[in-house]
């Protein structure tokens, strides 16, 4: 749990005299509100919310990784990092991107604050049976592309409500070829297709990632656990309510142009014309989006000039993401008119990146190197875009005002964000390396 969606749940527990049933199965961190620069918190409301989380965790006996503990970070980054996200588990959090944890073959989904209280009090949650969907990613992902391009393309295909009421299994050779970081990126964005959860069958990649992590089963228990986890695969003759195929062999890097993640196109495309959309509701939505984004139909995406770059969030701020971005910017300079920041997903990612010298590469190129947190993904802390600011962002939502009132967000992969920072406009990252 985190500070934003938990205070009212604890308050209700107190009012009703309810204890937390299984405090040893819950973990808390500070991520949404925390500043990413050194120094005290100047926002009184944010501080009060963080203080409330600290007090609540103390009162109810819940382990909290507070700012400065060395293991804090975005809740969906630290769970896997600690090894407490494991195959076969049911994982919930008052946060829609809880779907991230499905990358390990866990059933993981976001819940509301009332449900957070329900879980704390009972360790259960009433659920209706979801529908099932499988998305198979076939082919080999072209060099230089990433999990983010795969999932953005899939959302472009099924739309932002295409997954509604479903739990999605991502399968196929292109998924199996992904690292755990990449798989987390894919599952993270499930909610952007409207799906409650996304999952990937655990395999050797999963086990190798988990082995030796603090929360992973130790010694003999490890072998027993892995044997059990190997069973967690979809039967060959299983049927799904809906099946979909995406061929990734000819995929191009993706960039969103609108105000939801389904409004996406390959980087070599142009901004679409509302007139080309048959459905009147869709046409109107595209018109609204283009007006908000201040984009004219027919504009090549590579001609769109950007003001800010954000490399961060629970979608793309793991060590692999930072390595890829650093590789793109190494020895280059951020364009003069661009302000670019890198916000590691957790304190551990930050440490690891610094051990590898990535912080120096970013800073030498003109990026700001920040402390871990959600940061500009939703701008609850001081990292906010100004009205009209256009941002290339590795996060997951390009909703109106998401990164600051009146701001304009374009979603893309870490390599593409890094390339945009250098070029000052969108560009196929492969042209830079």
């Amino acid at each position: 749990m985190h500070e934003v969606t938990s205070p009212q749940a604890f308050e209700s527990l107190r009012v009703n005299g309810r204890p937390v049933r299984r405090p040893e199965l819950t973990i808390a961190t500070m991520d949404h509100n925390v500043p990413t620069v050194d120094g005290p918190i100047t926002d009184d409301l944010a501080r009060a919310q963080l203080d409330a989380l600290r007090r609540n965790c103390e009162d109810f006996g819940i382990r909290l990784y507070a700012t400065g503990s060395g293991r804090e970070g975005i809740v969906h980054v630290i769970g896997p990092e600690l090894g407490i996200t494991q195959p076969g588990m049911t994982i919930v959090c008052g946060d829609s991107h809880t779907s991230t944890h499905g990358a390990f073959g866990a059933l993981a989904f976001g819940i509301g604050t009332s449900e957070v209280e329900h879980v704390l009090a009972t360790q259960t949650l009433p659920q209706a049976l979801p529908k099932t969907m499988r998305i198979r990613f076939n082919g080999t992902l072209p060099f230089g592309l990433a999990a983010k391009d795969m999932v953005l393309a899939a959302i472009g295909k099924i739309g932002v409500s295409g997954g509604q009421g479903h739990v999605v299994e991502y399968a196929g050779p292109a998924i199996e070829a992904l690292s755990m970081e990449g798989r987390m990126t894919v599952c993270n964005m499930s909610i952007e297709a409207g799906a409650r959860a996304g999952m990937i069958a655990p395999d050797e990649v999963t086990f190798a990632y988990l082995e030796g992590r603090p929360g992973a089963p130790p010694g003999a228990a490890w072998e027993a656990a892995v044997a059990q986890w190997r069973e967690l695969r979809t039967d060959h003759d299983a049927t799904f309510d809906r099946e979909l195929e995406v061929d990734v062999s000819s995929l191009k890097p993706q960039v969103t142009w609108g105000t939801n993640p389904g409004m996406v196109a390959p980087v070599d495309a142009v901004v679409p014309d509302p007139a080309d959309f048959g459905d009147p509701a869709e046409r109107e939505a595209v018109e609204r989006a283009l007006a908000y984004m201040d984009l004219a139909p027919g504009t090549p995406l590579v001609d769109i000039r950007i003001d800010k770059v954000f490399i961060g969030s629970c979608t793309n701020a793991r060590i692999e993401d930072l390595r890829i971005a650093a590789k793109v910017v190494a020895g280059k300079q951020v364009a003069g008119h661009v302000r670019a920041i890198v916000v590691p997903g957790s304190a551990q990612v930050k440490l690891q990146a610094e051990a590898e010298g990535l912080d120096e590469i970013f800073q030498a190129a003109g990026f700001e190197w920040r402390r871990a947190g959600c940061s500009m993904c939703l701008g609850m802390n001081p990292d906010v875009l100004g009205p009209g600011d256009r941002c290339a962002s590795t996060s997951n939502r390009n909703f109106e005002g998401r990164q600051g009132a009146g701001s304009r967000t374009h979603l893309l992969s870490p390599a593409m964000a890094a390339a945009a920072a250098v070029a000052g406009h969108f560009v196929d990252a492969r042209e830079l390396v």
Binding site: Q49, S114, A225, F399
Partner: protein, 197 residues
């Protein structure tokens, strides 16, 4: 939670698809630790547009909201449901909802009703004559004084919660014995309190 057996009143129409919870209540209002008082921030950025539906005085007093498909998609923030309820809405009718919002609405005492686009069109046609609807959560139908009656489906558990204003946690706690029985055969793999600092 307040009981919600039946609601009669005006219906306000927000004719937009994919309205996400970031629009319903922007992030700067999520820093409060209280559960009430969010109504005044409902659709904070969109309300600045004089043509926005909530700026019509008639819509401001409506207890029923008719919205576009995929209403409440995006963030899990229950504050979105709290804001709608606090503003005065008791029912939202839409062709579809974001899954998490739908659950949050029920837990807030706000009824999320799914109706096909064609049925919503019928409703809106009737409302153009006289703006009044009755939504009956016990009978599961919507009626208009002009004679139109539209039945709808609603999850039985959610219906029970809303109609009786029940506390879902209390209901589950009555089944603590079953939970204990499950726990006795399913050992936990770790103890978060034993993890390294």
């Amino acid at each position: 939670m307040r009981e919600l057996r039946s609601v009669t009143g005006k219906a306000a129409v927000l004719d937009r698809a994919d309205v996400d919870t970031d629009q319903i209540i922007p992030k700067q209002f999520l820093k409060r630790i209280e559960r009430s008082g969010y109504g005044e921030f409902l659709f904070f950025d969109w309300v600045k547009d004089p043509a926005f539906f909530l700026n019509d005085p008639e819509n401001r007093e409506a207890p029923i909201l008719i919205a576009g498909r995929n209403f409440g998609c995006g963030s899990s923030r229950e504050h979105a449901a709290w804001a709608l309820e606090d503003f005065g809405f008791r029912v939202v009718i839409a062709p579809s909802f974001g899954d998490i919002f739908r659950t949050n609405a029920v837990n807030t005492g706000l009824a999320p009703i799914v109706l096909a686009e064609s049925r919503i069109a019928e409703l809106r046609e009737a409302l153009a004559g006289e703006n009044e609807l009755t939504v009956d959560l016990e009978q599961l139908w919507i009626t208009h004084p002009g004679g139109l009656r539209i039945e709808f489906e609603f999850d039985a558990h959610a219906q029970e919660t809303l109609v009786n204003g029940l506390d879902d946690v209390a209901r589950t706690l009555q089944r603590a014995g079953e939970i204990t029985a499950y726990e006795s055969t399913h050992a936990a793999r770790f103890d978060t309190r034993a993890l390294p600092i």
